[in-house]
Each structure stands twice: as C-alpha cells, then as structure tokens.
Symmetry: C2
Subunit: 283 residues, 2 copies
C-alpha cells in the first residue's frame, strides 16, 4: 500500500498553473483534501496524520498557488487562496470533498466553504480561528520572535511555535521533525520568500478583516487545537466552534499550535470517527 | 534655563482625560509639538533633540491617550491617535503648531495634517512612511524578532531596531540609552501592555490601509531617516517625501530607524534651519 513516505508527487494544470499534489488511500468515496500551514510544503505534513486518515479515505494533499513546487505566486488574501483551492479541487474532477485545514489552511478551508458551500461535506479545522479573531493580526509578532530564537539556536521555528517548551513538548517536537524527515526521495521544493511574506500578509489581513457569518457553514466541523496555542489563541478555536452551527471542539492538553501532531495517536481516531459518522455532530 | 532633564511634567484635561506633557523653551512663536514612537513615553525622547530644538522654539512633548502617565486607553487606529493629538493641542489653546513626529508619531502627524490642515505650519517626519506603504504591515514581525533578541540578551529591543549592529551603531545605541537615563527625577510611567498592543495594531492597520492623498499636505515637511531602517524601510521615507508636494528628504549614513538620534549633531541644526526658514523648502 502506498504511504506518505512514497506517494508520488503529481502535477495538474489549473487554469494554466501546474499544481503539485500527492494522493493516497482508498480512491472510492469522498476524498479528504488537506490545506496546509504558513510556510508549509507537502513534506511538512505529519505522516502519521496523513497515513492515519488514508487508512480509510482517499487523501489529497497539495501545494496551493505559489507554494513549494506549484507555479505562480502566493496571493496576499485568504479569499484568493480559497478560490485557488476550489479551482484545484474542481480541476481534479471532484464536486464533493472533505477538507482538513491546519492553521492558515483552516482559514482557507473556511473561505472554500463560504465560496463553494456545495463542494464541502465535512471539515476538520485544526490550530485555526475565524477571520477578524482577536489577536490573529499580531501573528507576525509571534512569528518574528520565534524566527529570531530559531536563528539564534539553529532550530526550526516550529520548535517554538508549535510545541510547549517543556519536557513533553520538546520530545514531541523532536518526534515530529523526525517524522517529517522519513520521506527521503522526491521531496518538495522549499517555500519561497515571496510565499512566506504573502502568507503572512494574508494572515495579518485576515486578522483585521471583518468577521465572516460562519452560521452559513452548516456542514459538520471538527475543531481541534492544543490548550495553549501561541499562534492562534486556543480561545479563538473555541470561538470558531461556537460560531459554527454544527461543530465539535476538541482541545488537547499540555500542547500548542501543533497539538494535533503532539497528540496524533488520540487525534487520528477522532478524525476517522468524525469523518465516518453519518449524522450531524452533537455540540 | 529649563532643560529636558528637569522640565516638570504637567497635566491638562482633554475632554475628561488627563494628558501628561512637558514644555520648555521660548514661549513666544509657534510651538513644536513632538509625537512619539511605538512604546515610547516622555522619557524616551532624546534630550539632545528636545533641548536642541528648545534652544530656539517652545517644545511641547506629550503622552497621547493611553500612553505613559496619560489616562484612558490607546486606540487601535492612527486616525483616532491624530484626533487625540489635535484635541490635546487645542486644549492647550494653540491654533498653529509645528509637528515633530518620529516613527508612528510621524504617521500620527500625517493624520493631524490631513484632519486639521490649518493647525499645522511645518512638520518634521523622521523614521516614518506613508499609510499603505509596502511592508509596514509586517513591522510586528520585525518587532517580534527584536523582542526575542532583547529578551535573550537582556537588552532594550531598540538596540536591535534603531541602530545598526556594527561598531558605530552599537556605540550610538549605548550613547542614546545613556542620554535617556540623564533625567532621574519625576520620570514617566512605563508603557502598558494595552498601549503596546493597540499601537502595534494601529501600525499594522496603517500598513494595510489604502494610501492617503498626501498632495493635500501642502506645508513644508522635512523627512529624515537612516539609510538602512529595518522598521520603516528607508525607501518608504523617500516615497513619503516624494508624495508630499513640499518636502525635503534627508537620509543619514550608516544608520537605521534611530538615524536622527545617532546623527543628532547634524540633525538638530538641520531641523532648526528648516523651522526657521521663511519660504517653502526646495525639493
């Protein structure tokens, strides 16, 4: 069986731009499309999450416009990122998908659900919050601090941004980066400086944007986060779940923005249960 | 003669809020009102600049709403900061002032000149740029990095934000902080966390705001900056001067955001010349 470690990188033309993606898992049923975090390329997906979901679903992960191996440049606006994701999904021929959005990917997933409500069956929104959420506009301040620490310590900034700086968190960070390194062949292109800055601007603009009417997103949503997220305050995930009419909130202990990676053993079964359930999710 | 070191801190009621200010210098003629930088309180003014200007003009420095010893809270919008500055100036009884704005204070000065054009005779705008200027929105990223370095090195973040990290810059930074420490009595209250975050949000929002029509600001303006400003790119000061119909641009060598402090010996005479000249400034 194909795993994330060996899934080939494919490309598809989307209105003149080559989008890079990988797919694996059971190709029957509704696929789960993964939307990624600030600075992330395909190889930044945790194999345990991807393979865990792919055990029961078709999984499609892609580099959105301007990211990694995908051509063109990253737009500076979340709505445009959502439109690009819709164009990619439609180019693959799907008219119904589940979305798995992490961090800014979760913001993009909300844009997809608002722009193309019929396209989305269910969503998992992890480490993310609503547009106009209090404090998201200052993410560049948090990121800047982590980048400085990363530069001074020669560590990936996600050591500081995704995991608590305690014994459990440091071990979780090291385990996470070891998993990201499992794939050794056919790795993705790194993020560009253009992509990094455009994403940061889109996140900042989203933070200062007027709130969306999330009551329009009526599909079941699983909202997940760590209990002490420095990038998107955990209370903003709670606010997101509260404003979505059909959402369940799952908060993991002693963890931050990367809580779903730190707690992947608990998280993956919850995602599978959520995606498999036939009825609406109870609040 | 009163100097910045001993000028008493006064308060005045502005629509129910006590504003803290200090004034010194010749009380005849048009006063020069100083507008300050992100996180700055009265004691963060460089005595050489204040005393230098006060040698020939009345100087009024104040804590805007929510800053330092002034009551209330800092608004999250540059236009409101401008309106607060206008209310303070009018409460003091002035109908014509010169403005000296540094960094976000320079942005507030632009708001004053746009909202109350008849109030302003001349402006000095240092270490600042226009609203909607490319890249100002990401200042929190720069600030966050500097705060992390400051925390790790137990230095004031302005060591990293205001001065180049070379021999001349490091000496200039140390000299600057020594000057800020000259006043020992009747010092101001420190900036609050509310003020800090509201200012950062206002700066971010200003960066993402639509550009103002600066051709409406017809008064003479001296635009000054270091040649390698990390917070407000020096080219944005050039852009500001270019869009103001009556501006002179002065860029100081081997210096950054705090270029006017590093080069105060050259800068003060230029400010005095500028404020004294009767006619419009040549481009």
């Amino acid at each position: 069986m194909t795993t994330w470690r060996t899934a080939p990188t494919r490309t598809i033309d989307v209105n003149g731009t080559k989008f890079a993606y990988r797919e694996l898992g059971d190709p029957t049923g509704v696929p789960v499309v993964f939307l990624h975090h600030f600075t992330a390329v395909l190889d930044d997906w945790d194999p345990r999450i991807i393979d865990g979901v792919a055990a029961r679903h078709q999984v499609i992960a892609f580099d959105n416009r301007g990211v990694g191996s995908t051509g063109s440049t990253v737009p500076t606006d979340l709505e445009e990122m959502g439109a690009d994701a819709i164009a990619f999904i439609k180019a693959l021929g799907y008219d119904k998908v589940d979305l798995f959005g992490f961090s800014v990917g979760g913001a993009v997933a909300q844009m997809v659900a608002l722009q193309a409500p019929d396209l989305v069956r269910r969503m998992v929104l992890a480490g993310t919050g609503p547009r106009g959420g209090g404090g998201i506009w200052k993410m560049p301040f948090i990121v800047g601090g982590a980048y400085a620490k990363a530069f001074l310590t020669r560590k990936d900034p996600r050591h500081f941004l995704f995991f608590p700086r305690n014994a459990e968190g440091k071990k979780a960070a090291n385990d996470y980066f070891a998993r990201l390194a499992e794939r050794t062949a056919d790795r993705d292109q790194p993020i560009s400086q253009q992509a990094r800055l455009a994403q940061l601007r889109a996140i900042t603009g989203g933070g200062l944007h007027a709130p969306d009417d999330l009551s329009k997103i009526t599909v079941p949503v699983l909202v997940a986060n760590g209990d002490n997220d420095l990038m998107v305050a955990s209370k903003l995930s709670a606010d997101l779940a509260n404003r979505l009419p059909n959402a369940t909130l799952r908060i993991y202990p002693n963890s931050g923005h990367g809580g779903i990676f730190q707690h992947h053993r608990a998280f993956v079964p919850e995602v599978l249960d959520f995606l498999a359930s036939k009825s609406s999710v109870a609040r």
